[in-house]
């Protein structure tokens, strides 16, 4: 009987493991792929270095005295003006100097604490809601928060009621205005959208006709025509001499009606996804129309449509930028306004890049969140 020695295991060939294998399969698997990889690398080489040069290496970051949210920060003896920035790179001191405008618009500097509290409350809301997720009365807590939060925010931002000095709406601007329009738009349009969706599904012909007409008409025209309607024609529809509807309110009415039509279609999708048996069961146990919808249909339909509701809200957030066309000073409008300042002429590029970064970060995180929701609801439905 011969004895066999165990041979030492050979190592896998170097081309079949680790980084080299990864490179071979993902970047150089065929000659076409190699060409594609080379082309994309060249493309990146063309795009990235000049961008980095402009944003960082050739950019001016600090000089002069910068007024940063009311605090003077001194970098050097030079003046903080355009001419001290190079022409080849970005001029970031312009952004520090105008950061207040980009955030609050013309909101009085002594009253800044009010929007700040609202920003804080908003952040707090996002912290509290996940915290109470397992609490027994979570629905009541969340519902009362949803009712209280807008009221408190409104009182804080606009003032009045004998509590705080009034800040007129034409002074609101920047990110503050963007957030106000987006949140008011969503909060107001959502109930209208639900009613319209129910109306469109209704068996009452007149109600169905009006809902369908409204939804289809609004969805067929661009938002800008509706904003123009709201700002030029709406005042003509009011009683003569009635000037209580200011520019911001008009824009908000236009945006809320516009968004309601889109929410209605989203909710209708949810309504149609509910099995027929649910409606019939609700009828069979003798629930009224109101009870049937409030207790059986809507809770299920709204839950299904949550990802699409978030998606539609994201579109609304993008659309808020359109208010600059009817002369409201949102964050995007601040670019034109601040570069009209003779000290900072011709710094539009920096402004647009800054607004792009802020908007992108907000919108990207929202879209990630909506995708997460979508995945969560998908797995629940496939079981």
């Amino acid at each position: 009987m011969s004895v066999y020695d165990q041979q030492a295991t050979r190592k896998p060939p170097i081309s079949q493991i680790g980084a080299i294998l990864w490179l071979r399969t993902n970047l150089f698997s065929s000659w076409i792929n190699t060409v594609l990889t080379a082309t994309s690398l060249y493309f990146l080489y063309l795009m990235i270095p000049p961008l980095l040069d402009w944003m960082f290496f050739n950019a001016s970051f600090s000089f002069g005295t910068i007024n940063f949210f009311g605090f003077d920060i001194k970098f050097s003896e030079e003046m903080a003006t355009n001419s001290n920035c190079g022409r080849v790179g970005a001029c970031w001191p312009y952004i520090y100097e105008k950061l207040y405008m980009y955030t609050y618009g013309f909101y009085p500097r002594t009253e800044t604490w009010r929007p700040n509290i609202v920003f804080g409350l908003t952040a707090l809301l996002f912290v509290i809601i996940p915290l109470v997720k397992n609490y027994k009365y979570k629905n009541r807590v969340i519902l009362s928060l949803i009712v209280i939060y807008p009221i408190v925010s409104y009182v804080l931002i606009s003032g009045g009621f004998g509590l705080l000095p009034v800040v007129e709406t034409h002074l609101w601007g920047g990110l503050l205005l963007t957030l106000v329009i987006a949140s008011v738009g969503i909060i107001v349009s959502f109930p209208i959208g639900v009613v319209l969706a129910l109306g469109r599904q209704s068996e009452l012909r007149v109600i169905k006709l009006f809902s369908t007409l409204f939804i289809e008409f609004v969805r067929a025209v661009p938002l800008i025509t509706i904003l123009f309607m709201a700002s030029f024609v709406l005042p003509l529809f009011l009683e003569p001499g009635n000037n209580s509807v200011d520019k911001l309110l008009r824009a908000l009415i236009g945006i809320a009606l516009f968004q309601a039509a889109y929410f209605a279609e989203v909710v209708r999708g949810g309504l149609q996804a509910i099995p027929r048996g649910q409606y019939e069961a609700a009828d069979a146990i003798g629930l009224s129309y109101f009870q049937k919808n409030a207790l059986i249909v809507l809770p299920q339909a709204l839950k299904i449509s949550i990802p699409n509701i978030v998606g539609s809200s994201i579109s609304l957030f993008k659309d808020t930028t359109l208010v600059l066309i009817i002369g409201l000073l949102d964050m995007l409008a601040m670019v034109g306004l601040t570069t009209a300042d003779p000290y900072w002429l011709g710094r539009e590029t920096e402004g647009y890049v800054f607004v792009t970064i802020v908007m992108w970060v907000m919108l990207y995180s929202m879209s990630r969140y909506s995708r997460k929701l979508e995945l969560r609801f998908n797995t629940e439905n496939t079981n």
Partner: protein, 406 residues
């Protein structure tokens, strides 16, 4: 109404007519709610229209459409619409409407073609097994779909106006085309006598190619013999016009732009407003089209490809005959919806002054005439018609693409 009352009587025979029964009768309720809605809507309209007339009178605004015949009296940025309508400041307001409409349609048309091309490219790249390409395509989608379209339009326009070089230092593409802050200068085609025949030859080529393809398809179905037709198609569509073109002695000349002392002379200038708008709209809409195409291809069952390979189809045949027809069924409806969105978004050109419908007619004319109801009504009607047209197209495509049940 009579029927309802009689019904309620019928349900309570032993007590006769009963108001309570009427209140709880479903039909009666339905009737009541519909009447109430109708009354509320009519009431709202009545008040609003009444106020409208009062306000219009108080402000001294005219009514009616006679303003369409009045002299417009302002210049419009020269673009295609101006040349088609032959617009001058002396033209009536109605011409402004046509100029705007044409310019809107031009942007929509070119934007749709460009966004489809970019979308296809990015959608396929997203599914590539090349890691870098797929990630780049993903980055493109995430970057551009999360920036508001208005911001993108303003950004590209600003790039043109503030960053691109003066005409003297234009970017030159082999001295054929020039790009600078005044726009893109292309060679201007000047058709001479006989060029019409080249166009006719082109159309004849397409028709002939169609019939040849049909013939060989029939032959394939009858006999199973497959004939490749692409050579015939290419000869007919490209070759025939070239032959005619040469026969007539090259009846098409080009006027090239030439760099003068201060500016470019000659050629065909495409204004930066148009370029920035079309580019922004295409890049933005392409992200949605790419996602539609990606989800379409991903929706095709893996078994379909395997079955195609099992019956011996080549890679290209499998793609052409099995995968694409099924992928397109999923991808086309959302893509057509995006075409509608692109057309609606073209109205944002008012911020950069590209002379489309909402910036010329809904902007300048509205400011001069002040008849907001009529002007905005006309503009909205245009968009309504466009969207109705696109919905009809969508319905047609959906019907055609529906799975044929047997």
């Amino acid at each position: 109404m009579k029927k309802i009352i009689l019904d309620s009587l019928g349900q309570s025979q032993h007590r006769g007519f009963n108001f309570r029964n009427l209140l709880y009768n479903n039909e009666a309720r339905a009737f009541f709610f519909q009447i109430a809605t109708l009354l509320i809507v009519i009431g709202l309209f009545y008040t609003a229209i009444g106020n409208l007339f009062e306000n219009i009178e108080a402000r001294g605004i005219h009514t009616g459409f006679s303003f369409l015949k009045n002299r417009a009296g302002f210049d419009i940025l020269p673009f295609l619409g101006n040349y088609v309508v032959d617009y001058t400041p002396e033209s009536p307001n109605l011409s402004v409407f046509y100029v705007g409409l044409i310019n809107t349609l031009v942007v929509a048309f070119i934007g749709i073609i460009l966004s489809t091309l970019i979308g296809l490219l990015i959608g396929i790249a997203r599914l590539s097994n090349n890691y870098l390409i797929s990630k780049l395509a993903g980055g493109y989608i995430e970057l551009f779909r999360n920036i508001p379209i208005l911001l993108q339009i303003l950004f590209w326009y600003n790039l043109f106006i503030n960053v691109f070089p003066h005409p003297k230092q234009s970017f030159s593409f082999f001295d054929l085309a020039f790009l600078n802050q005044r726009g893109l200068y292309l060679p201007k085609p000047i058709p001479e006598e006989g060029f019409l025949f080249v166009g006719i030859a082109f159309i004849i080529g397409i028709i002939a190619a169609y019939f040849i393809k049909k013939f060989y398809k029939k032959k394939h179905e009858l006999t199973g013999i497959h004939t490749s037709t692409w050579l015939y198609t290419a000869t007919l569509i490209i070759g025939l016009p070239i032959i005619v073109y040469l026969l007539f002695g090259s009846p098409l000349q080009f006027d090239y732009a030439i760099l003068g002392k201060f500016n470019l002379k000659g050629g065909m200038a495409v204004v930066p407003e148009f370029l920035a708008l079309t580019f922004a709209l295409s890049v933005y809409t392409a992200t949605y089209i790419a996602e539609a195409i990606r989800s379409g291809i991903e929706a095709v069952d893996k078994g379909q490809k395997e079955a195609a390979a099992a019956i011996g189809l080549t890679q290209i045949q499998s793609l052409k005959l099995i995968v694409l027809p099924q992928a397109l069924r999923v991808a086309i409806p959302p893509t057509i919806n995006q075409y509608l969105n692109l057309t609606k978004n073209s109205s944002l050109a008012t911020v950069i002054g590209y002379p489309e419908l909402m910036s010329t007619f809904g902007g300048t004319v509205l400011n001069q005439v002040g008849q907001a109801v009529e002007i905005l009504g006309m503009a909205m009607l245009v968009y309504l018609v466009i969207s109705l047209f696109i919905s009809l197209l969508l319905n047609y495509v959906n019907k055609k693409m529906a799975i044929q049940g047997r």
